[in-house]
Amino acid sequence: MRFARFLVSRLITYFLVILIGMTIVFFVPRFLPSDPISAALGRITSSGSTMTPAQVSAMRDTLEQLYGLQGTLPEQYFNFMSRALLTGNFGQSLSFYPMPVNQLIAQSLPWTVFLLLTSTIIAWVVGNFIGLLTGYRSGKWYSKALEGIAIFLYPIPYYILALVLIILFVYIIPVFPISFSVKGKPFSPEFISSAIFNSILPGLSIIIGAFGWWILSMKALSSGIAEEDYVNFARMKGVGSGTIMRRYVLRNAILPQITLLAISIGTIFNGALIAEILFGYPGLGTLTYTAVVQTDYNLLMGTISISIIAVATAALVVDLIYPLFDPRIQYR
């Protein structure tokens, strides 16, 4: 029963986050003092082609239809929301005309999921392990050194790390290729190995960018828990130091870290977006950037809506697996 209540309230938040997020995405272009249609018409006329007023107004109609700008505001809103949320249809892309936007997103989303899932899990596991070590053995020299590294790395944003990695490993020591290039047919061994090879640097920038935070938060948690009475009792009882670290400290400190992971998925996603663009990684970030550069608004609305849904879903999944790690919570 309790699990049902938890699930229902969590699902309500999930849908509200998506609903409000999409509402922002819908209203932002309509309230900003900018007119994408006039801009598009301006580009067409300034490129030398002459159009009669009738042609211009026909063009305007077509563009309005394409952007879903016809009808009253509530009509547009319900059209947009039902198309985006129920059918996942964001219209056709202008820069890859006549490709539908959702087909382009379907191509790039797996890349982003692959990159983010792998690097977030590595950063979380490695960061928590180092954090546990530095928190539990805070007196040791290596703990201090590792904490120092974490303090140095944590404030540096992902895109700066990405730039530094590009400068170091693409230009100064040319280990990795300048542009992202995957060889072979999809899912052939050659394809997989070249995809992994090309993803190393983007992944590394996300791992290094994220794990400082996991080290520092885990260190704070585990050094607090290491002073709890039940840990002292275990120590006096003669339980080995390694066992205490794994069974007593880790088990308790890992739980807030899971909640924290759910909260920080949005931030990690933001960082990965820029890293993707800098590396030319063929994921959602680069697709968003293409949409911006090509002023392809259908594509832009599509990638941004999918970003919001993806981040909300990832946070939901993390929150739902939380009970698996905490045997004390029994939703019965």
Binding site: I24, I151, I166, F269, I274, T288, L300
Partner: protein, 283 residues
């Protein structure tokens, strides 16, 4: 005396952070006044000069002096950071206190808003805003957009503090001695939250500069203004890495790294310091 020394030693972080921030303030607020030319203008000096006595960081491919450009960039980045952090923290503290203290429907609506703005990835929406305002983006619009996404973090924290405060003994004492809600919030709860707000303010300066720079690096901030991010953007546009223009692309990168470490040290150092101070008072 012994305790004093302990606090000072514990706060190596605050010391190092403040000294570094002070250096940045001098760089950003004082040095630009001495610039021999408007450092963001193009072609005021010969292009692509190496570092020399006249141009200590050389010049850019746009004919700007890299050193003076850097001071302008630091000035603007600090400006954005401080403005965004001030308003985000102020709005956040206000919203958090209201939610935590009013409770009921107000609390539920505000909490929902906080959760939504924290869960919605901010950068895609900022990219949408910036790309719609193409060419018309000013640092002010970017600043306002950043405030919209940064107030919920302090708000959520302050709400939690205010909720725990509500049940404390001294709040009840104040209430029974006839103080009104506003009076209790201003005189009893706010002092507790103030120190926390300072640490949050410093941290938000970091977040704001970081987000503006992220937008700027991909050319979506106000590219005609000098910020640390736009400096990297122009260096990348002119193949700064390939052309090995290390001062041009490297100086904003190094500046961001040092500034962010300084802000982080100051923020965590201050939090530690105020926790120590509270401990001393109650002891």
């Amino acid at each position: 005396m012994q305790k004093m020394r302990n606090i000072l030693r514990l706060n190596r972080r605050l010391q190092v952070g403040s000294i570094l921030i002070l250096i940045f303030l001098i760089f950003g607020l004082v040095l630009p006044r001495f610039s021999p030319y408007n450092a963001i203008d193009w072609n005021v000096v010969p292009r692509n000069l190496p570092a020399s006595k006249v141009h200590i960081f050389g010049t850019t491919s746009l004919g700007q002096d890299t050193f003076w450009l850097l001071t302008f960039a630091i000035q603007n980045s600090l400006f954005i950071g401080v403005i965004v952090a001030f308003f985000s923290t102020a709005i956040g503290v206000l919203a958090g206190l209201t939610a935590g203290y009013a409770g009921g429907v107000v609390d539920r609506v505000l909490s929902l808003l906080m959760d939504v703005f924290i869960s919605v990835p901010s950068l895609p929406i900022l990219i949408l805003v910036a790309s719609l305002l193409q060419g018309k983006t000013s640092l002010l619009t970017i600043g306002i957009a950043l405030i919209v996404f940064n107030w919920p973090w302090p708000a959520r924290q302050v709400r939690a503090i205010a909720l725990s405060m509500r049940e404390r003994e001294f709040i009840n004492t104040a209430r029974f001695s006839g103080k009104g809600t506003l009076g209790i919030v201003v005189y009893e709860i706010f002092p507790y939250i103030f120190n926390w707000s300072v640490a949050n303010f410093v941290n938000t300066v970091l977040v704001a500069i970081s987000t503006e720079s992220a937008l700027a690096v991909i050319g979506l901030s106000s590219v005609q203004q000098a910020t640390l991010g736009t400096m990297i953007y122009w260096a990348l546009q002119y193949q700064g890495i390939l052309g090995k223009k290390w001062y041009w692309i490297g100086s904003p990168v190094v500046a961001i790294v040092i500034l962010f470490i300084a802000l982080f040290l100051a923020s965590t150092g201050f939090a530690e310091y105020s926790a120590e101070k509270r401990g001393r008072q109650s002891a």
